[in-house]
Symmetry: C2
Subunit: 165 residues, 2 copies
DNA sequence: TATTGTTATACTCTATAACTATA
DNA sequence: TATAGTTATAGAGTATAACAATA
């Protein structure tokens, strides 16, 4: 993957990565939030895979584990809803966590259909270890930004999420 | 997918969507840029699929078409590099555009290995039509943000991209 | 030897429909 | 009838390795 690191003469009109010294015009992509969001997320995902996974948890799994940790005994569908995961896709993910010994699944005594999820000690350890690696990884990707800028970024991303009715 | 629209009492510690009036704690996810980037991109992708695609082009294809339009006769690998697409994955994408009659693929007279890519008239039309739909879609997702804020957002996303060495 | 385009392949994420068992 | 969990399946994106043709 090539980054926009060696851009020869970056102007509002001419952008993008170049290898031979010739700039490539991005056209309308230059001003589209969607394009930049897509690229930034791709970089984040790639760096996450390299720097956090093995032995850390994948981004989805870390999300699930985090929500369970912060809401002990929460049920599966509720976790899925908070994280925007389809119930159907949740099954394999929770299976994975249970198989790894990180999560316990118990029938809700108050509702025979529901499963209450809890972290095991190994689950807490995996969450902590992954979080430490994530902190490193975010620090690197956000290098050159202030805490204020990160807060602004999160706020703007949240607004996009909120507008996605 | 549930959004953070009906949060009962959003505090820095308690966040996330709720359906029955009970807030769910996101734990460490709350302050992680990666989490918010992931969710915002998911919303964007979903809204893009709903509002732009059919008859508009997919986000990847629109990117390719935009770069070809702005750099007539550019070769395939160069487009892939600018957009962060693997050469191997580029093949099927260009095949798709050629099959749709939007792109012409011609052997570079100066280099028998390379293909020069050009838009057809239909390609230009598809690009324009897709762009119009994208403008609508971005307007909706960025509702409530100023032009300045959008510029800040793009700048911060670009910085993440640049840090992804 | 390096590069362009290619094939094959595999994994993850996502989305939908339909089933079961409980409520 | 509505909901929790499940199964099956399909599509899209992404990643790597290896090959042919050309430079």
């Amino acid at each position: 993957m090539v980054r926009a690191a060696t851009i020869p003469a970056q102007t509002p009109e001419s952008d993008g990565a170049a290898d031979d010294g010739q700039a490539v015009n991005l056209g309308p992509l230059h001003g589209l939030v969607g394009y930049h969001l897509r690229r930034a997320f791709a970089v984040l995902r790639s760096d996450y895979a390299r720097a956090v996974e093995a032995p850390g948890l994948r981004q989805v799994l870390f999300g699930i584990v985090s929500v369970i940790a912060a809401n002990d005994g929460i049920n599966q569908t509720r976790v899925a809803r908070v994280l925007g995961i389809q119930r159907a896709n949740m099954v394999a993910l929770v299976n994975e966590l249970v198989a790894m010994g990180l999560v316990l699944r118990a029938v809700d005594p108050a509702d025979g259909r529901a499963f209450l999820l809890t972290l095991t000690a190994a689950g807490e350890a995996a969450r902590d270890a992954t979080l430490a690696r994530i902190d490193c990884h975010e620090q690197r990707l956000l290098n050159g930004t202030t805490a204020d800028e990160r807060a602004v970024l999160i706020g703007l991303l949240d607004r996009i999420q909120a507008n996605g009715a």
